[in-house]
């Protein structure tokens, strides 16, 4: 699924217009990679721990 091959920068039909050879594609990935690499606050691990400790009794339906 990844576009490993070399593609011209302005492929508009069928190819991968957001591949790493397009400026937009490159920036998108950079933008997103920055977000993904942000440190995750502890609150989420805490939340999962809490959920785990809550008995499944409070089931709806």
């Amino acid at each position: 699924m990844k576009n490993d091959g070399k593609r011209p920068p302005h492929v508009s039909d069928g190819g991968d217009p957001l591949g790493t050879n397009s400026q937009i594609g490159l920036k998108l990935k950079q933008y997103y990679a920055d977000l993904v690499s942000e440190e995750v606050p502890d609150r989420f691990a805490d939340l999962l721990r809490q959920l785990e400790q809550t008995p499944a009794a409070a089931k709806k339906g």
């Binding site: 699924m1 990844k2 920068p9 302005h10 508009s12 217009p17 957001l18 400026q23 937009i24 594609g25 920036k27 998108l28 990935k29 950079q30 933008y31 997103y32 990679a33 920055d34 977000l35 993904v36 690499s37 942000e38 995750v40 606050p41 609150r43 989420f44 691990a45 939340l47 999962l48 959920l51 785990e52 499944a56 709806k60």
Partner: protein, 182 residues
């Protein structure tokens, strides 16, 4: 049925991606983290409806996205760029000599309508296929394709990096300024 340890581990592993997607949608880290929190709770509650072996990340993204739009509806759908601040910032930095600043890109991305922004993020950054993105957004594959294409064109226009009109800052800038003033 109890939630398996593996499911919990997978949820934990998905959090960075969920936050990135939430940030892309909400454009605000507090809102984004609330979205992620709500997504985790919902995922936990209905873990039985997840089919092991299918794409957990896509399943979680679907939940997060639904949550985002339902919150927007509850708030009466905030208009993007309500104070024009982003538009103002946008017009100042044309991409120069093919160098595209990440901050400019972020600003341009914020200008896109949500449906286009999410489509281009899912396809261009999160690594989903068009089919998966269509499932996440609950629309046709063709719709995703056209949103991605419109998003890309719009970004190129805003950032002035399209092949054809590489140096047309004035017309585009005045367009942007004009729409802000109107």
């Amino acid at each position: 049925m109890a939630v398996s340890q593996g499911f919990k581990t997978d949820l934990l592993a998905a959090i960075p991606s969920l936050r990135a997607f939430a940030m892309s949608l909400a454009q605000n880290s507090d809102k984004a983290d609330d979205l992620v929190q709500e997504t985790l709770v919902k995922a936990w509650d209905k873990h039985e409806s997840f089919q092991p072996g299918t794409n957990l990340k896509a399943w979680l993204f679907t939940i997060l996205r639904n949550e985002f739009y339902s919150q927007m509806r509850k708030r009466g759908r905030e208009v993007q760029d309500s104070d024009g601040a982003m538009t103002g910032r946008l017009a100042v930095h044309p991409a120069q000599q093919g160098q595209l600043d990440l901050e400019d890109f972020r600003t341009a991305l914020e200008k896109l309508p949500e449906d286009q922004r999410e489509a281009i993020i899912l396809i261009g950054a999160s690594g989903f296929s068009y089919e998966e993105a269509a499932e996440i957004c609950q629309c046709a594959v063709g719709t995703i394709k056209s949103r991605v294409s419109r998003a890309r064109n719009r970004l190129q226009e805003i950032l002035q990096i399209s092949g054809e009109s590489e140096y047309g800052p004035d017309s585009i800038a005045s367009q942007v300024m004009g729409s802000n003033a109107a």
